[in-house]
Symmetry: C2
Amino acid sequence: MVDVLGFDADDTLWHNERHYRHAQKQLEELLHPYASPERVQEVLLEHEHANIPFYGYGVKGFVLSMIETMLELSHDAIPAADIGKIVAQARHMLSVDVELMPGVSTLLEDLSDSYDILVITKGDLLDQRSKMDRSGLGKYVSRIEVISEKTPAAYREVLTRHNIQPDQFIMVGNSLRSDILPVLEIGGGAVYIPSELQWDHELVEDPHLDGYHQLESIRELPSLLALLDSRT
Amino acid sequence: MVDVLGFDADDTLWHNERHYRHAQKQLEELLHPYASPERVQEVLLEHEHANIPFYGYGVKGFVLSMIETMLELSHDAIPAADIGKIVAQARHMLSVDVELMPGVSTLLEDLSDSYDILVITKGDLLDQRSKMDRSGLGKYVSRIEVISEKTPAAYREVLTRHNIQPDQFIMVGNSLRSDILPVLEIGGGAVYIPSELQWDHELVEDPHLDGYHQLESIRELPSLLALLDSRT
């Protein structure tokens, strides 16, 4: 019987990717004299991938990867002031208002009556906790777990630490790679809610997997949970 | 009776500040045409302070603060290639070998027979876990807790989560501000081991406090613990 729900945070509970896209748009404009927008996207993604083992996920590493992209594509010819505009994105992205997905607040309030709710996210520790504080959702959540990488081992470690069996647990998120595949692998349940915007790094080609549920909107979650509950 | 030891990581278990000083030295050299080393230090510390609520602690935020310092002191006249040299510091600092303080490995191995050992640190999640992996100390440590800020509330939360009473707990670290004061405040014990190099942000002026123990080297810790144990 499922009594613990795990929620991804970015682009599941609140918008996030749009702020990354906005910053990337500015990067493309600043690099216009040196490279096409497509080339900027390509080189930026290369830097982001190469940097993940060092920087991890989150705004600060993203901004450092954007600066590396500027230096590479301009062959160090970019004016320092333009780099300053990208550095300013870090402060902006780390303090911008948290925009919840529609209906999320009521949803978590209702679900918290029947389920223990964990938020399991990657990214920068301080930024994720700060967004949780600013979101007003903290009161419905028993714990926020910020982890470096969403691997099966990392999910197993979180569940063990909270004394949760995998068959008691359903994870809800917008990334097949991070929220769905690893949880299915350890025997948990998973609900995939694709988001409008998705970071290329999170895409999985042709995952060939089943056993998870897919919803159009997080607002459909209570009906799905009721259905699952009626079957057990 | 004390049966849980908490250890700070940076500049308590392994060297850290020296890598920050090395990077800062390079910053001073690159900014030589624009400002004195003293002015660079002053402006860098201002940026670091102002950025902590947004960036938190750790290498990535430090590098972003160094870039802001370059832009400010050069009035955006710094060549992009020089900014590139500072960005390269991020990768370097995040992958440099972990140099343990002398005797730390044997010390933790011995202490782990009699005490439960936690490592409680702030900074970037991925970087701190990666350093712990590279340090080889993981096998003596029951858990590493990376927290955003070392406040009394944060320590209380960690202890509660692990079912530890404050009087069972002693924290060992090199910062009065982060490792000693907040732990005394919640009723735990504390051992202060000043480090050779200390970040100005961690300094506390004239703390007027007692109730903690001070050692010259972490190697003196077993004797102190034996003495404390004999008194209870």
